[in-house]
C-alpha cells in the first residue's frame, strides 16, 4: 500500500508555477524527505494534500483512496508553523486537536512528556518560545499514535539539543514502522533520517526515489601517496574503477555504487610498488549532489 500518491499535481499563483506537474509515491513505512531550496514548493505540496490549498490541476490519493477528512484524522501533521489558539494553554490546545481528530485525548499527558513540555502545559501558548511552540506542534502530531506523520521543517526554531531529540524521535517512530513525510531544506537532516527523497526545484520534481540511489550514485575513494604521479599512473589500470581524478593534492577513485573495496585498492597499489599514506571511503557529499541536482 502506498500512503500518498501524487499525480500530475500543479498549482499556479497567476503566472508563478508553485508546483508544476509533480508526481510521486510515498511507500508505507518509509521516511520520505521532500527536499528543495526556499520557495521550491515543498509547503505548497504538503498544503495541497492537506486540503489547505486547492490544486490548479492534478490529483492525489491518501491510503490509495480519494482524500477526505477521515484520512486526515489518521495523519499527524505539522504544516509550516505551529498553529494554536494564543490565549489557551498548551494542554487546552491539545484537547481541541484531539477532539477534532476524535482520538488521542488519553495521550495528551504522554505526548507532552515526549516533547518535554509537561512543566509548561498550563502556560498560555502566547508565552511559549519559538522552540516550545514547535514542540507543542510535534506533540499535537503524535496524538492518537498515528501511523503516518507529516512534518514541514520539523526542527525549525529548535536548539541543538532539541534538533537531536526530534531526530531521535523520528528514528524511533520510523523504527515502529510509521511512515514519515518530511519537508526540509536542511540537507543533513534528510541524510540522517530519510529512506526516500523527492527533490523539488522551482515547483518541478527533479527526481524521487530511494535516498541512497539518488543522493550518492557512486562510491568515492580518496587515496594519497608520496609519489602521486606514480600513483596516478598505477591507478589508471585499476580494475572495477569507473574513473580516476586528481583534484589538488588528493586523488579520487570512483566505483559503481556499493562496489568499492578498500582492501583491494590497498593491495593493488602495494603490488604495483606504491605505498599509500591516505585511504578513505567517501560517499559523495549530499551537499555536492544537491547542488548538482538543483543547479542544472
Amino acid at each position: 500500500m502506498s500512503v500518498l500518491t501524487v499525480e500530475n499535481l500543479s498549482k499556479s499563483y497567476g503566472r508563478i508555477h508553485a508546483l508544476n506537474n509533480v508526481s510521486f509515491t510515498v511507500p508505507e513505512g518509509s521516511v520520505f524527505g521532500i527536499l528543495g531550496p526556499n520557495g521550491s514548493g515543498k509547503t505548497t505540496m504538503l498544503g495541497t494534500i492537506m486540503d489547505i490549498l486547492k490544486p490548479t490541476s492534478g490529483s492525489y490519493k491518501l491510503f490509495d483512496e480519494a482524500p477526505s477528512e477521515l484520512q486526515r484524522r489518521k495523519i499527524g501533521t505539522l504544516l509550516e508553523t505551529p498553529n494554536f489558539y494564543h490565549y489557551l494553554s498548551g494542554e487546552k490546545n491539545l484537547e481541541i486537536a484531539a477532539e477534532i481528530k476524535q482520538h488521542g485525548k488519553e495521550d495528551i499527558q504522554k505526548v507532552l512528556e515526549v516533547v518535554d513540555l509537561s512543566r509548561r502545559k498550563d502556560s498560555k501558548f502566547s508565552t511559549y518560545s519559538l522552540g516550545m511552540k514547535q514542540r507543542l506542534a510535534i506533540a499535537s502530531c503524535l496524538l492518537g499514535n498515528p501511523n503516518v506523520l507529516v512534518f514541514d521543517e520539523p526542527t525549525n526554531g529548535l536548539d541543538p539539543v532539541g534538533i537531536a531529540e526530534i531526530r531521535d524521535l523520528m528514528k524511533n517512530l520510523s523504527g515502529q514502522g510509521k511512515t514519515i513525510i518530511m519537508a526540509s531544506h536542511l540537507l543533513d537532516e534528510v541524510e540522517k533520517v530519510c529512506t526516500h527523497v523527492a527533490i523539488l526545484r522551482r515547483g518541478e520534481l527533479i527526481t524521487s526515489g530511494n535516498v541512497n540511489e539518488i543522493l550518492s550514485n557512486e562510491d568515492m575513494v580518496e587515496v594519497g601517496a608520496k609519489d602521486s604521479e606514480k600513483l596516478m599512473q598505477v591507478l589508471q589500470d585499476l580494475p572495477a574503477a569507473t574513473r580516476v581524478s586528481k583534484e589538488g593534492g588528493t586523488i579520487k577513485i570512483f566505483f559503481p555504487i556499493g562496489t568499492a573495496n578498500l582492501e583491494d585498492v590497498n593491495s593493488y597499489c602495494f603490488t604495483n610498488g606504491v605505498i599509500l599514506n591516505h585511504l578513505i571511503l567517501k560517499k559523495k557529499s549530499l551537499e555536492a549532489r544537491f547542488f548538482e541536482l538543483t543547479n542544472n
Binding site: E69, R72, L79, Y85, I100
Partner: protein
C-alpha cells in the same frame, strides 16, 4: 453538530475577551433600557402632555418593541465579538489547523453560524427578561402577550447583525478592515443609500431592503414610525427579506471558504 459545538465551546470557554465582551454587552442592554425608562419617566413627570406623542413605551405591550429597538443600537457589540472570533482563527492560522486535523471546510463555517445562532438566542432571552422587568416596573401596566412577535424580530435582527459581521470577517480576513466596514456601512452608508434610493430616486420601499436596514425597519422606533419609515412594507415581508439575507451570508461564506486557498 453537537460534537462540533463542543469544540467551538472549548475555543471560547477559556477566552477571557469573549466573556468580558459578552458580559459588557448584557450589562449594556440593561443599562441602555434603564436609561430609556428613566428618561421617559422624567419626561412624563415634568411634561405630562408628552405622553400624547411618546405613548407609554415601557408599558406592556409596547415594551417588547421598545426594548428591542433600544437594544438594537448595541448590536455592534456582538458583531465585533464574532468578527474577533473569526479573524482570530485567520491570525492564528487555526482555521488551517482545524482542517488539517480533520474538519471539513463546511464544518468549520457551519459550526460558526450555529454558534452565532445560539448566541443570538441567549441575547434574545436576555432582552425578553429585560422587557419583562421594565414592563412590570412601569406603573399601571399589566402583563400582556400582545406584541410578543417583537421577540422574534429581536432574534432575527441579532442573528442578522452577527452573521453580517461574520460575513465581513470571512471576506476581509482582517479584524481592522472588517470592523471599519461594519461600522461605516451600518451607521452611515446604509442610511445614506436608503435615503438616496427611497427619497431621492423615489424607489421606496426598495431602500428598506438593505442588509441591516431590513431588520431595523422590522423593529422600528416605538413612536413616529410613520414619519421615519414612510411607506415601509409590512413586518412579514421584512422577515422574509431578512431570512433571504441570512441564507445568503451562509451560502456565500461557505462558497468562499470551500473554494479558495486557506
Amino acid at each position: 453538530m453537537l460534537h462540533l459545538l463542543k469544540i467551538e465551546w472549548l475555543k471560547v470557554k477559556n477566552y477571557k475577551a469573549f466573556w468580558i465582551f459578552t458580559i459588557l454587552y448584557f450589562f449594556a442592554i440593561l443599562g441602555i433600557n434603564y436609561t430609556g425608562y428613566y428618561v421617559n419617566e422624567l419626561t412624563t413627570e415634568s411634561l405630562p402632555q408628552s405622553q400624547l406623542l411618546l405613548g407609554t413605551p415601557y408599558a406592556f405591550p409596547k415594551v417588547w418593541q421598545t426594548v428591542g429597538w433600544m437594544s438594537s443600537w448595541l448590536l455592534y457589540f456582538p458583531g465585533i465579538l464574532f468578527i474577533m472570533l473569526l479573524t482570530n482563527e485567520f491570525n492564528f492560522k487555526t482555521h488551517r489547523q482545524n482542517i488539517i486535523d480533520g474538519w471539513t471546510r463546511k464544518q468549520f463555517i457551519s459550526v460558526k453560524f450555529v454558534f452565532a445562532f445560539l448566541f443570538a438566542i441567549v441575547a434574545t432571552l436576555f432582552n425578553f427578561l429585560v422587557a419583562l422587568l421594565f414592563g412590570f416596573l412601569t406603573t399601571g401596566s399589566s402583563f400582556s402577550f400582545s406584541g410578543m412577535e417583537n421577540i422574534l424580530y429581536i432574534f432575527i435582527q441579532t442573528f442578522a447583525y452577527i452573521t453580517f459581521a461574520m460575513f465581513l470577517a470571512i471576506l476581509f480576513r482582517r479584524s481592522g478592515a472588517a470592523i471599519a466596514v461594519f461600522f461605516l456601512y451600518g451607521l452611515i452608508f446604509e442610511w445614506l443609500i436608503t435615503v438616496l434610493i427611497n427619497f431621492k430616486m423615489e424607489l421606496s420601499p426598495i431602500g428598506y431592503f438593505l442588509p441591516l436596514q431590513v431588520t431595523d425597519v422590522m423593529l422600528p422606533i416605538p413612536f413616529g414610525k410613520s414619519v421615519i419609515y414612510k411607506s415601509a412594507p409590512d413586518e412579514w415581508t421584512l422577515v422574509l427579506g431578512s431570512l433571504v439575507y441570512l441564507a445568503g451570508y451562509y451560502f456565500f461564506a461557505l462558497k468562499k471558504f470551500t473554494k479558495e486557498d486557506l
